[in-house]
Symmetry: C2
């Protein structure tokens, strides 16, 4: 942790004590498992049922700051009784059938990187809880080079999938911050959006086909890029967060590995000026592959370049603009976008683009270090149409600042535009403040205020983190009672016993 | 009708007799309406309930060849008892509530251009059938120029919407062949795809927000371009074909009216060579706004230029490649695409592009004239991934040819690639042959064979016509029994009495 950051935490935010790093896993005590491993061994084999404490703890909840705080406090009451590792679609089907019969709740588990309580089902009314870890489903099943399509299994982590495809000359092009751990099944189930989604598309746009194992049977969806044969049922599974079924195979669009990758930094005098430049590129083009813009505070903190936190900055707002593709295509888009950026008031910043690319997955590790130092750090995000972006930015910032200041812990609030569309953009907030005596209650109050502000300001409760359990009350307001009714009807059809991730996504009755 | 075409019909297809043009509407006799107009007048006003025969006949079925043949045979047994013209979302809600209580089936009616039986509900078990014509919902409600968003009412026909937006300098850019009659609500309900969808996107990609009146209440969907807050419920309404609810308002992406529109013709030596060129542009770019390719037969028939049917052609396969947008953008894309087209073996064809643009909506009128001349003419379409395109083209062509030849009416079969995506393309077939004694049975057999071939060949039963009633058996195979179960569950939630378009989209129990 650089001295400048420690000084900022101490002098700027009043961080006083460092509760220290998390203890060893063995220090966490778990309840006795309520389920016998032998119940599942005939289905998936002896070695694929894990009952040991470490496995159970590693499958407890996700990676939100409250999740980390609870584990640091040695609280693992949501631990699954068992961790199951099925090896095929049919085994998943059989496990779901067994769990339906025995009233055992199931949490589908990919990379475990949810930050919204997506791995924290309400298993209260059930006779047990199992984590269904899909890591053994890790094959590249087929590659159709003519159609730019790969059929992949859901347990593949981002780097594994890229390695398998890269050996054949292809890439999915999906690089969320969770890339190193998150799985393809998780990307799909949570409607993930990557850092290069401006160019490659969101994951929900890249998924062309899905096989789903549900307690009620198998769904095989997607015979074509687009179809007018009824509603797009793929879009009902994408974002279903394990509540409708378990994705056991995905057919996704791939592209040839880009010949060239170029990332640039551009500075704007203000967030407003930078947003206008982002909008010009998103609407009129040409569209870069990566496009993001930090506000003044985030730029000053240099969070766009985690390796240089605490270093000097030139003021204003830093944008990262990246291009990936064939050399001609990259050059044509770069030249076109440069004209737009210059005419919007942008000034090129040497090296900032490459620095961002080098450190692009470091954010979550930084958070761990800040927690170690006694700071409370968390992120949240939203998305809205362009005309609502400035108001939403103000409203969410104000809600966070007011809530935390009233609690005696005035925060630093950083924000960036993380993704752009022709009609709107997402806003990604990072909040840092001194940890109060009850940091869970402290953050819960701030997050509640921010979520209310998001809904009131016309935003969606999530652009890419998902609903999980944390966002359910606001999601319910977003889709309305009839929308919730539709979700419940779909769930009742696919999961009649309600075993899949109860309480996640869909409000409990 | 040009002499050359008449000669082709006579000599090439054996068309012998011309049953003549359709008779006057008055010659069609209707059953007495089973419903009293006074039931609905308190809700929507005296003048907005139409019981006259002409209104009823004009709201009977759609515009498929079987639909036209049945009206020509003066068969209008599916006529609604009444035509209702609500003037607001709340009036639609009230009508749906009333019809649910009274067990009256409802067919939502936009432009009446369905060619798949989408306007032909099974009203057998109900106490009556009303057509809900949305033409009075025809306002441009709001235009958000910053976000490129327009909120429009569903009853606006294509040209009406373009005129309202054009006066403000904007366009939706959605131009299906049905453009002149079809409505925005219909575009959304049927997942329409337009002739310029390569550039502007399909209609389902342009819809950002929806308000839906269902018997169970109101759904308001879409707070942002994209969201990770659960499944995308908009995609459940898009393609729902009036079976889930009535769309009463749409928020769609608009763009500034293009500064320039340029359409070019390109000739390839074979369909295979042309398809490779389409794929190169769809995958590697730059993407034209319009991109279509006729096979050898369609090129020879010159159907790509309806005004020049029967004129000379230069052999091979004709592609239409169009660009719309800002001058710089059009020029950059045109220059880039030209390089791709040339290297793929394309040869520029002067004037062909402009001729296509001039005649782009003439296809359906031509079909009327051919029917007048005693020919049976109909179209069907599908979509699949690139690697399946050649096999699907052969399989569907063969199925149509074999079926109609076995019936003693060997057909001419024309095809074009109508839309392209990075991972696949659609195929649009036109079939012409002599009319048999029972043309409905004749076409039913051919269409059944083609639909079976589509499913067996890996295609979707529709790329842009929809499911309607005609495609239900194949749609059921496409989504599987569990998929049908999901659709039924959603319908039961939104439309508990099952009054909305019964038998359309979802198989009857």
């Amino acid at each position: 942790m650089p001295d400048a950051v420690l000084a900022l935490l101490r002098d700027g935010l009043g961080v006083r004590s460092a509760p220290g790093e998390p203890g060893p896993l063995e220090a966490i005590s778990l309840a006795e498992p309520r389920l016998e491993a032998d119940l599942f061994r005939p289905v998936i084999g002896h070695d694929n049922v894990h009952a040991d404490p470490e496995s159970r703890i590693r499958h407890t909840r996700g990676k939100s700051t409250p999740d980390l705080l609870r584990l640091r406090a040695r609280e693992a009451s949501d631990a699954p009784d068992l961790v199951l590792l099925p090896g095929s679609h049919d085994e998943v089907l059989e496990l779901l059938s067994l769990c339906s019969d025995r009233r055992i709740a199931v949490v589908p588990f990919g990379g475990g990187t949810s930050v919204v309580g997506g791995l924290e089902p309400s298993a209260g009314g059930f006779d047990g809880l199992v984590a269904l870890d899909l890591r053994r489903l890790d094959a590249l099943v087929a590659l159709d080079e003519e159609s730019w399509l790969a059929t992949l299994e859901p347990g593949l982590r981002g780097p594994q999938a890229e390695e398998l495809l890269g050996a054949r000359g292809y890439t999915v092009g999906h690089f969320p911050q969770s890339f190193e751990y998150a799985t393809l099944g998780g990307f799909a189930a949570a409607r993930s959006s990557g850092q290069a989604s401006a160019g490659y598309g969101r994951f929900d746009e890249l998924v062309l086909g899905l096989q789903v194992a549900a307690p009620a049977g198998t769904l095989s969806l997607g015979r074509a890029p687009k179809s007018a044969a009824g509603p797009d049922l793929r879009q009902l599974i994408l974002g279903s967060e394990g509540a409708f079924g378990v994705i056991t195979s995905l057919t996704v669009q791939v592209r040839p590995v880009p010949e060239r990758r170029t990332y640039e930094g551009w500075r704007f005098s203000s967030f407003v000026e930078g947003i206008a430049a982002m909008r010009a590129l998103a609407q009129g083009g040409p569209r870069p592959t990566v496009l993001r813009l930090s506000d003044e505070v985030e730029t000053a903190m240099n969070l766009a370049r985690p390796g240089e936190i605490g270093g000097s900055d030139g003021g204003g707002c830093l944008a990262i603009v990246g291009y990936e593709g064939a050399v001609d295509d990259v050059e044509a888009r770069r030249a076109g976008a440069e004209r737009v950026l210059l005419s919007a008031g942008g000034v090129a910043v040497p090296d900032a683009g490459e620095a961002w690319a080098r450190d692009r997955y470091r954010g979550p590790y930084l958070r761990d270090a800040l927690l170690d130092a006694g700071a409370l750090v968390e992120t949240l995000e939203t998305v809205t149409f362009w005309s609502s972006v400035p108001g939403l930015y103000e409203a969410v910032s104000t809600a966070l600042r007011d809530s935390l200041t009233a609690q005696g812990t005035p925060p630093a609030i950083l924000c960036h535009v993380s993704h752009v569309y022709p009609t709107g953009a997402s806003l990604y907030f990072t909040v840092a403040c001194a940890e109060a005596d009850d940091p869970l209650a402290q953050w819960h109050a701030a997050k509640t205020a921010a979520s209310d502000a998001i809904l009131a300001g016309g935003g969606s409760i999530s652009h890419h983190h998902g609903v999980g359990r944390d966002h359910v009350p606001w999601y319910e307001r977003e889709v309305g009672s009839l929308g919730v009714g539709v979700l419940r009807a779909v769930k009742a059809q696919l999961d009649p016993a309600g075993i899949l991730n109860p309480g996640v996504l869909i409000p409990l009755p």
